[in-house]
Amino acid sequence: MTKKNKPEIEVKDLTIGYGKNVVLENLNFQVESGEIFCILGGSGCGKSTLLKHIIGLYAPLYGDILIKGNSIVNADEQRRRKIMREFGVTYQGGALFSSMTVAENIALPLEEYTNLSEEEIEKTVEEKLHMVDLDGFGDYMPSELSGGMSKRAGLARALALDPKLLFFDEPSAGLDPITSAELDRLLLRLRDTFGATIVVVTHELDSVFAIANRVIMLDKQTKSIMAEGSPVLLRDTSPNEKVRAFLNRDGLKSDVAEELRITEVP
């Protein structure tokens, strides 16, 4: 009998919010090693806020978050920074440092935390750029890149220290379907080739069905997790009508049907 691996992330009794305003409460879930885990929910339900708590940017009102068994909530400043170095984060707009070239952006964590020589850093940067299909763009400034390229460059920077845990905040937002699909393929490659665990905040359903092993769906009204599991199973068999409607885009379909009925000429 094989011993079950420790989960990469454990969220325990988590309550988050701003000041006295609770956004989500009593959340409990785990992210297993080597899976793509999506956090879903409508706009304003607290997806990105939850992500920022998991990666240690915000302190929760209550509860704990363990990254590879280490609490990021109760860690002191030094320890928290050490935990943060073990994962990579890609932000909505790429969050590239605008005063540095793409290559300098990717080199920054390598310069800060490794003893690699200049040539080795240069080689690693080229490798990472190749991974995200941005060969030859090292000398570009972030302002010269398109939205999709910025996100990929941000991903290359997140991959610089070869983390086994990656977080993505709305990776497909604002991208055309082809670029979005390319990014999905890249995430699958990272999981399958490098065994990375990936947490994605999104509400792009096409992307969710293409890449997610498991999802949690957040509910703004109850401030809690509405459903957890495989996206396909939830879409087809969830007892919760709201979940099925979300995953089937039912709201949109009925709206369109209604519109068609109105405009139909008798």
Binding site: K52, I55, G56, L57, R81, K82, M84, R85, F87, V89, Y91, Q92, G93, A95, L96, F97, S98, S99, E104, L108, P109, E111, E112, Y113, G154, R157
Partner: protein, 267 residues
Amino acid sequence: MKPKTEQQLRAISRHFRPLLQDGTRPVEFIGRIAAEVPDLLRHGMRGRDFRYYLDLCGVQALPIVLLICLLMGMVMAINGQIQLSKFGQELLVADAVGLVVVKELGPLMVALVMTGWAGSAFAAEIGTMKLDEQICALETMGIRPESFLVFPKLSAMLLSMPLLTIFGNVAGILGGMLVGITIMKITPVAYWTRTLEAINITTFVLGVLKSFPFAILVTFAGCFCGFNAANNSQGVGRGATKAVVSSIFLIVVADVIITVLYSFIGY
């Protein structure tokens, strides 16, 4: 009666609590940066960033500093000439311009120019970085944004502001001399000799020394307002404005304190 008093006290405390919190935030900010100084001494800072800010705060700011100080020297000389000519003491214009520029106007004007030139730029840059989640990205890389972004700026300002003050002082004196030569028909040698008699090396050094605290205040105010700017474009604009206004206020307060301290040692 009692509950009413309690209610009033609570209302007052509610009103003042945010002010108190606003007051503690700059102290906390300075504390966070100070805590990183030992680490900075061990590892140094990114040379590229330091050179960039040295260029911005030193080389690029030099022409405007020279121009403003030259013009201020001219204005002072013209005004001085009008007053002193009543007593037939036009030559004292050289003393007045030299002393005022070196002791007060040079360091102050340079600090005010740098407030608009660098302080607002620091606030806008950091505010935009916050808006674009670049600050979050630094944090999740395990890098402390406060020290990473403040130290190169602070070092560049500490190096460039005293140098700019020296250049500004010379430009101010030359402005006065220009008026002395062209309007008052004083010979350059006579004007220069009077200036050298009026100021000595101690006066000059004490004036330049003022630029160190001014550099610290402009940098801290600019960076602090950037880090505390609201997460929208208007917030970034307001952050830059706040940086300029608070820098000017802090510089004037510091100038008063330094001048009083200098007066104790007879300068």
